[in-house]
Amino acid sequence: MKGQLDFMLLAVLRTGPAYGYVIIEDIKRRSGGVFDLPESTVYPALHRLETKGLLRSEWAEVNGRRRRVYDVTTTGRAALHDQRDAWRRFSSAVSSVGESP
């Protein structure tokens, strides 16, 4: 699940910078409510991705409050591209096996 969470975080942030609460709500919305994670799991993952250089962050004033806003780096975009390819191959292979007579 950790790998999938990282993938989803990169995918959500690919569309634009966001802070933690918005990222979590976006994951829930895009997954149709399937991924309703304990919200505390997201911040360690964001920090880990930042340590790896896949994300960057900075404090910003958003709606009257200081928030840590995250954005994908160039390295992060490349990693997301690779992970998407890998996921497509994996899910295609699983589907092939699962649906074969």
Binding site: Y21, P38, T41
Partner: protein, 178 residues
């Protein structure tokens, strides 16, 4: 959204269990509280009372102990980085001694805020000790640190961290009284 109430209580427990480096700690505390307040405001907008919204935001976030632990813990070497950096500059072996002012009860000024030099957590005035590190034998230099009482073993072992000896340097001072 008020910062008092369930979120305040949650953050107090979360902060107590958060064992990370001081700079990272400040960021995590601010992000966590900000998230809970955002979540609670979203629920208030949907018709919840402020107290119920805060409780539900906390429930969705997860228990404070587990949430704090998910950020990892500082390894002993990192935890005591400040101390070891100082110790490397001291000649020979060393031992901590209480400053004369700390031999009975020592408190920081009530309005003063400080951070324990060993565990990196905030030190409440009533829980503080100011301690000198002195070289064993001829004292060529010494440094002064503010630490939690629990991070400093008054029984004589050297700088115990949560009951685990961090280091030992020479016999405990014979004139120490707990």
């Amino acid at each position: 959204m008020s910062t008092t109430g369930p979120i305040e209580a949650y953050m107090a427990i979360f902060a107590r269990h958060l064992a990370v480096a001081p700079r990272r700690r400040r960021r995590i505390l601010e992000e966590t509280e900000g998230h809970l307040l955002d979540a609670a405001e979203g629920l208030v907008a949907k018709g919840r009372t402020e107290t119920d919204a805060q409780r539900q935001a906390i429930e969705r976030y997860g228990g404070p102990e587990g949430a704090a632990a998910s950020f990892g813990t500082r390894p002993v070497g990192v935890l005591c980085r400040g101390v070891f950096r100082v110790l490397r500059r001291l000649p020979g072996r060393w031992r901590p001694t209480l400053t004369p002012a700390a031999e009975s009860e020592h408190h920081l000024d009530p309005g003063c805020s400080s951070m324990c030099d060993i565990c990196g957590r905030d030190v409440a005035p009533a829980d503080s000790l100011v301690t000198d590190l002195s070289a064993v034998g001829e004292v060529a230099s010494h440094v002064t640190m503010v630490v939690h009482r629990a991070c400093y073993d008054l029984g004589g072992a050297i700088l115990q961290l949560r009951g685990t000896p961090v280091t030992a340097a020479g016999p405990p001072p014979r004139d120490r009284t707990p």
